[in-house]
Symmetry: C2
Subunit: 384 residues, 2 copies
């Protein structure tokens, strides 16, 4: 039996809500296994989740590796280790530790250390004693040097629990966050660009199911949006990404025409964003979503000045979550690469047909209201 | 003359607005020098800002070091290097490069590399030739090995410009972002805790001047707030941090009393946050600030569920910027340590006197409206 031990961090701090979070985490881990055709059993042991991958050698390590690769993308997972379960017995632990060291190719020229954790306080040896005994056993058999620093070539982990112990030689980082599904749902406005999928991912990471919505302008941009939804799906365990596509022209076309007629073409981006946010609110209500998510980053482009943020979000009823608001473009790009959306987002596509040559950067609420007033007097198209 | 060369990244992308940003950056650099009693001259040279520190040896290097340490905290600065200006002449460059290598203690056992950039395309040698010639000169004199990888013990930088060249052996990272003052101003709600000062800092990093506002509950918490404002001031070049303190009891006391009377004590945190946000809006209007900043992080504590965010921000007229909304506690804590607010924020203080034993985590707008309706019927205190 191949075992994977999963650590969750922040969840452990959640006091009496903790079990609710851990239950959702286990559910999402099961969803991950299922979506990736991995057969396995999931259970809580102390402050860990164990995933037992049910395959036998020689396919075992392959199944374990695949499971680790997929499970690291479950939000709420801080780190995970493929491990072996042995009796809670210092000899059995030592033997398994040696096997781990040998498999990792440790010899006289390499260094290692043992880090143990005694979750079962009834175990007769305390952690430093376990480290010393297991370390001596591995050292004697391999000739390798002990190095207690982070520089060691191999760190052998040991966790002693009631009735069993875990031994592992590898710890893989997860993304952290909270289990998806614990923080309700939000509608994420997504173009085909770099920022908005990163914003959606960050909000998913905080446990919130996102409903991506796209306002179609061109087939290329739509394809980028759909492909980015596909990438987000790789993290959507415990949640299904169901993209919604609306027609941009239908949502904004008439307003744009009016803007042009009253000579306020420079306001196009602001009224466009307002129209999209209002439309997103309606969609949110239909889907019981409590908030909107945008890729706004303060000052990144002309339309994202503070003045314009105030004008675009004025009167929008739902809270707007802007997880990128304090990040630099370099930071956002690094995240996009890590998530896997960068390649898709940087594909060539036509730019927005409504983009004015000189978009307004300093909207103000009084000016906004004045333009809205003028537009009221404007006849709808076809009534002339 | 000691020279510091400053690189800005994102600003360079800003098209025709670029000069506006660079001008503000120079202004803020001057403010930084002034606030730290450093005498120096600031000017743009190509896509760089040069700061000339006007002191002579032996005090020179000290003044240069101090200037580098302070200037790295100016937002918009991506990196900076203490440098020497020499004639744009390969022999002079080689001689200065050797001096840099010797000062860094390079010898036969150490490695180095030369990385040059030819901003003046009229210079007769191209970059790889400069690297080779300067490298050969340093190698011959010191016996050190050339290592072109990132592993080199020393990287000697050369920038050739019209009429002069810069040579440097050190590149210090700044925080990036945009020059403070280019993105208007916002009111930042700050407790004495870990999150809110980090949120304020991130928004300052994006060029926005923040006005910190605190609702006093206890002297300890107030002192933490004031100390954190002091820390933020270390980054506030081009902006002055002017803390505003209001009395929490005055802002929320009456509402709390009403809540208790109608048996809705569990709603305390939500109505408190609503009251603070509303009050912050008034302050924002008085100070021409366009937005509010909070330290909300989704799901971090009971009061920061998506339901509660919706209820607390419902009807708040200004956009609420929540730069931490997508971050984990570990990420926020790491930022607090980097900024220097962590020590202050983790000092002991009394917890909020209004905190109910079982605060509501699932507010909804209909329930919120129902409680508000009940409270309307409630007599003000003293009228009984």
């Amino acid at each position: 039996m191949g075992l994977i031990v999963i650590r969750y961090g922040e969840i452990a701090l959640k006091g009496k809500n903790r079990w609710y979070f851990v239950k959702q985490l286990r559910k999402n881990i099961r969803d991950c296994l299922k979506k990736n055709d991995i057969t396995g059993e999931v259970r809580s042991v102390g402050q860990r989740v164990y995933v037992q991958v049910e395959e036998v050698e020689p396919a075992l390590r392959q199944a374990q590796d695949k499971a680790v690769e997929k499970l690291r993308d479950v939000f709420g997972v801080v780190s995970l280790s493929p491990a072996r379960e042995v009796p809670a017995d210092i000899e059995a632990i030592g033997a398994e530790a040696l096997r781990v060291a040998q498999r990792a190719g440790v010899d006289e020229k390499r260094t290692f250390r043992v880090q143990s954790r005694r979750a079962d306080k009834a175990f007769p040896l305390i952690s430093p004693e376990i480290n010393r005994l297991v370390g001596a056993h591995v050292q004697k058999a391999t000739g390798a040097q002990v190095d207690l620093s982070n520089e060691a070539d191999l760190t052998i982990g040991v966790e002693v629990r009631r009735g069993h112990a875990l031994v592992f030689g590898q710890t893989v980082a997860g993304h952290g966050g909270l289990p998806l599904g614990t923080e309700g749902r939000a509608v994420a406005l997504m173009s085909g660009g770099i920022d908005s999928p990163v914003a959606a991912w960050l909000i998913m990471k905080r446990g919130c199911g996102v409903i991506p919505i796209h306002f179609r302008q061109s087939e290329e941009e739509l394809a980028k949006f759909m492909d980015n939804c596909e990438v987000l799906s790789r993290y959507a365990y415990g949640w299904d990404i169901r993209p919604i596509v609306l027609d941009h022209q239908e949502v904004f076309g008439e307003t744009y025409e009016k803007l042009r007629r009253v000579g306020a073409g420079r306001w196009a981006c602001i009224f466009c964003k307002r129209a999209l946010l209002q439309e997103a609110c309606l969609i949110a209500d239909q889907h019981k979503a409590k908030a909107l998510v945008t890729g706004d980053s303060l000052g990144q482009v002309a339309s994202q000045t503070l003045d314009n943020l105030e004008a675009t979000s004025y009167g929008v009823e739902k809270p707007i979550l802007r997880p990128l608001i304090g990040l630099d473009k370099t930071e956002i790009t690094a995240l996009a690469r890590r998530i896997g959306t960068f390649e898709v987002s940087t594909r060539e596509a036509r730019s927005c047909p409504y983009l004015p040559p000189d978009p307004l950067t300093k909207a103000s609420l009084p000016k906004l209201r004045a333009v809205m007033e003028k537009m009221k007097g404007c006849q709808p198209i076809g009534d002339e």
